[in-house]
Symmetry: C2
Subunit: 213 residues, 2 copies
DNA sequence: GAGGCCGCTGACCGTCCGTTCAGTCGGGGT
DNA sequence: ACCCCGACTGAACGGACGGTCAGCGGCCTC
């Protein structure tokens, strides 16, 4: 509800700067994204945000040009992470299903590492120019995944009895659902989550006689 | 963007009523929920909503007490559907995994039949009293699912190498992800979707030598 | 064809919104 | 000790917000 003093002071781990100590862009962004995720972007007023930061409303504008830029910074970070994961998977030599498996694992890692940023990204509706741009990049990522799934099905590595378009969407629906409940530090760790997602996605949750991996 | 005339006039299929023709609660609610899902609940103003309805802002208050009540009506419809599915599954005689499979199928049917209402429900953040109540009912539903998964794992019917709490969340993350892309009338039908979800969830998306069902 | 009901209008209210601006405060560098 | 830079304050702005109110207009019923 109220500001936490040790959240402020973004200097940690940075070279000493001149002037009054306080937030820098990065530490302010982290708090803002957290609040956006709790109350929704549109549901969060700059006044509420300033109270959570423990500074005045106008102080926020010293760090960013407005509410819009906070959203932009957040969704860009999430998208950059996801595309890095995609590039990683794309650079692989293996079969489509191997690259797909790698992409799932890398995506989970990004969701886990940047959970608040990805959460915000996945809730964007396209109301503003910033949101429209974010949605366009998301669609690009989705096309990339769909391509891999189609290829894997053509290779005969994925069950042929489901439309690959549906398979792709279910697969990344499963991965993306992480943001609804995963909280860093609480419960399972990142590796355990990534393993669980990979197992459930590729082999299902039913017990089976003998399954590798 | 603008109102569609044949969306108005909620009389279709109803007994003739007195007075001027126009919206009734039901037809107004359907449009409102659609707009809420496009722009977000907080991101939709009553003015914007009135434009989409093709009536004046004040006319909305003739049908409902306010924006809050529209949300209440919508999330209640979604929750009633989900709990009906749960009751159905709970009344079954079979093993836990059979009841779970039934619940998944019934839940998908609800998501498909009431997609806009469920979508709105799943995006609620808890900002108002209405939203808090909705979240509480959602948590109750989640506990129900978790219970079934735990029981199924105790029966030995679900893979024991994943924490049942995680399994339950992944399972319903998979189911709930439908609302992100399923659109009635376009592409796959309800039965095809339900089948795909059940197959992927229980048996995974990988091709396997011989798998029943 | 008169009555009445239902859906609707347009002007208006107080409040909250995102944003701006002219400064003040505080601490490290020199 | 002084300077200056970066973080911050408080009051104010215009506009958008959810909601109210007194009354109008079309259609079914009798």
């Amino acid at each position: 509800m109220t500001a936490v003093s040790n959240v402020r002071n973004g200097r940690d781990g940075k070279a000493n700067r001149r002037g009054r100590p306080g937030y820098d862009r990065e530490s302010l962004l982290r708090v803002a994204v957290k609040v956006f995720n709790e109350r929704g972007y549109d549901g969060t007023s700059m006044d509420e945000l300033s109270k959570r930061l423990g500074i005045s409303k106008s102080a926020i504008y010293h760090h960013v040009s407005g509410k819009d830029e906070l959203l932009q910074l957040a969704v860009d970070r999430a998208l950059d992470g996801l595309f890095a994961a995609a590039d990683e998977a794309g650079a692989l030599d293996g079969s489509a299903i191997d690259r797909l498996e790698h992409l799932v694992r890398a995506s989970v890692a990004v969701l886990v590492a940047e959970q608040p940023f990805v959460t915000l990204l996945l809730r964007v509706r396209g109301n503003t120019a910033v949101e429209k741009r974010a949605l366009a990049r998301r669609r690009e990522f989705d096309r990339l995944v769909s391509g891999l799934v189609e290829q894997a099905e053509a290779d005969g590595d994925i069950r042929p009895d489901i439309d690959p378009a549906i398979t792709a969407r279910l697969l990344f629906g499963l991965v993306n659902s992480l943001i609804e409940w995963y909280r860093p530090g609480a419960g399972a760790g990142a590796d355990e989550i990534a393993d669980a997602v990979r197992k459930v996605a590729f082999d299902g949750l039913r017990r089976r006689p003998a399954t590798g991996g």
